[in-house]
Symmetry: C2
Subunit: 244 residues, 2 copies
DNA sequence: CGTTTCGTTGAAGAATATCAAAATGCGTGG
DNA sequence: CCACGCATTTTGATATTCTTCAACGAAACG
C-alpha cells in the first residue's frame, strides 16, 4: 500500500511537501528532526490512509491529491467529516489530543503523502511557537467549518444543501470569463451525495429539480450552472420543491 | 445587560476567572496586559453574550455558569453547536480566524464572565507559546467532539441520541454511591431537545419508549435511570423502537 | 457485443416534524 | 387546604421529507 519514493527537491536541498507553508518556520535541523517526512508514498485512489480507532502514531502531510475523512458505520453508510488537500495535514487533532484516530482517511485521487511520527511532530510544535500558532489558526477555521456543516445538515433540505455545494464549487472557479453561460464540474454522483450528506438517489432528484426549473443543465458528466442567482435561491432555507 | 463587579481575589492578588488553568503560564505583567479581564459581569439566564455575525472584538472567559452556542435560523429554530462552562472561552475561534462571530452565545444560568479584548488575547498567544499549545489542544478536542456530533446526527435515531445524552449525563455524575437505583437529572425538555437535536415532542416520545421498556423512570422533573445497560443498548445504531 | 458501472426514475415505507389538543404539574391567592 | 391559572409535558393525528428497494436506460469497457 503506497509506493515509497523521494519528494521532489529544490535547490539541492530536500523540499518539504507543500506543508512548506506550515513548516516554513522550522530550522533545517528541526526539519530533519521531523523524521522521515522526506519519504513520501504514492497511494492509489480509494486507499485507506488512516483507519479509525487505531492508535494515532503519526501525522500525515498531503503532498498532492485529495483525501476524504469519513466515519464508516458498521452497516456501511459513511459520513463525510471533511476533505483535505495538498498542504494539509491528517491526524493532527488526534495526535494533539492523544487519542486514537477518530476518523478514517481515504484517498479520492492518486495522492502523495509523507509521514511525520507523532513524537517528532509534537516536538516540532513544542520547539517552534510559530508552528503552534499556525496550527492554532488552522484548527480554529476547521472547527468553524465543521460547525457550519452541522448546522447545514440540521436545517437545510437536501435540495438546499445540494444547491450550496454547486454554488461552492462554482465559486471556487475563478475561471468565469464569459458572462453568459456558466461552469461545469465533474465528480461522481456518489461523491457528491457524500458531500451533501444524502444518497445517490436523493441527490439525483435534487439536481433534476434544478434542471427542470432551469437553474442548471445536466450534460453527461458535467453540470452547467445556467442561472447562478436561481441556484442561490434554492440554497436558502424555507423554500422547498418536490414532486415530479 | 450584565452587572459589573470585580472578580474574587485570592492572596491579595487579582485572581483570573477559572481560565486560570489556561492563562497560568502568563506572567503577572502579561496577565495585566490582558486588559480588563478582572472586570467581570454578571448575566441573567437567557441573556445573549455574543451575537452571531457581529465583529469578533473579544474573547469571553466564563467564570461561572453555563453557556450555549447556537445558530438561530431566520424562522426561529435554533441549532445547538456547543456548550461551554466555567474555565472555557467563547469566541476564540473567531478571534483566531479573524472572522465575525459565527455563533450566538446565550447563558443558560446566571453566569459571570469577563472580557479579553481581541488584541490583548492575540498578544498573549503571541507572547506565550505555552498558552498557544494549550489552546491548540483544546481546539483539537473541540473539533473532534463537533465531528462526533455531526456523525451522531447523521446516523443515529432520535431515540439513540436521546439515550446517549442520558448516558452522558449520568456518566458525568460520580455521585452514584448505591448500586441499586440510579441517577436523576433535571433540565427542561426544551433544552434536552436542543441538545439531542430534535423537537420537544420527539424527545418526549423517546423518553416514553425508554420508560415503557423499563430503562428509566420519569418522575416529574427528574429522570431516574433504572437500568443503565438497557439504556446503552438503546444508544446503539441499528435498533429502532417506535409506535405506542 | 456482452458486461459492468453509473445515473435516473418510480413506488413504498420509515423516521421525524408539525399541528392541535389533552393532561399534568405547580405556584399563588383565596 | 383547595381552586384557579399558567406553563410544561405528553399524546394523538397528519404531513413531509428522505431513504430504501427495485427496475430501467445509457455510457464505459473489456
Amino acid at each position: 500500500m503506497g509506493t515509497v519514493f523521494r519528494c521532489p527537491r529544490q535547490n539541492g536541498r530536500s523540499e518539504l511537501c507543500p506543508a512548506k507553508k506550515l513548516f516554513s518556520c522550522l530550522s533545517p535541523g528541526q526539519v530533519a528532526a521531523l523524521g522521515r517526512e522526506r519519504l513520501a508514498r504514492l497511494f492509489r485512489p480509494g486507499e485507506v490512509l488512516i483507519h479509525r480507532d487505531t492508535p494515532a502514531l503519526a501525522v500525515l502531510s498531503i503532498h498532492s491529491g485529495r483525501v476524504k475523512l469519513i466515519r464508516s458505520a458498521t452497516n456501511g453508510d459513511d459520513v463525510l467529516v471533511g476533505l483535505r488537500g495538498p498542504g494539509e495535514l491528517l491526524g493532527v487533532r488526534e495526535v494533539l489530543s492523544a487519542v486514537p484516530y477518530q476518523v478514517s482517511a481515504v484517498t479520492l485521487e492518486p495522492s502523495i503523502l509523507c509521514t511525520v511520527p507523532r513524537e517528532s511532530f509534537l516536538n516540532a510544535v513544542q520547539e517552534c511557537p510559530e508552528l503552534a500558532r499556525r496550527l492554532l489558526r488552522q484548527l480554529a477555521e476547521e472547527t468553524l467549518s465543521t460547525e457550519a456543516q452541522l448546522v447545514a445538515r440540521a436545517h437545510l433540505s437536501v435540495a438546499a444543501r445540494t444547491a450550496r455545494l454547486l454554488v461552492a464549487l462554482t465559486d471556487r472557479r475563478p475561471v468565469t470569463p464569459g458572462l453568459p453561460a456558466a461552469i461545469p464540474i465533474s465528480m461522481g454522483r456518489d461523491e457528491m451525495a457524500l458531500r451533501v450528506g444524502t444518497t445517490r438517489e436523493s441527490l439525483s432528484r435534487a439536481l433534476h429539480q434544478f434542471a427542470v426549473r432551469g437553474a442548471v443543465k445536466l450534460e453527461g458528466g458535467t453540470i452547467r450552472v445556467v442561472v447562478p442567482s436561481l441556484l442561490e435561491r434554492f440554497s436558502q432555507p424555507e423554500l422547498v420543491y418536490d414532486g415530479s
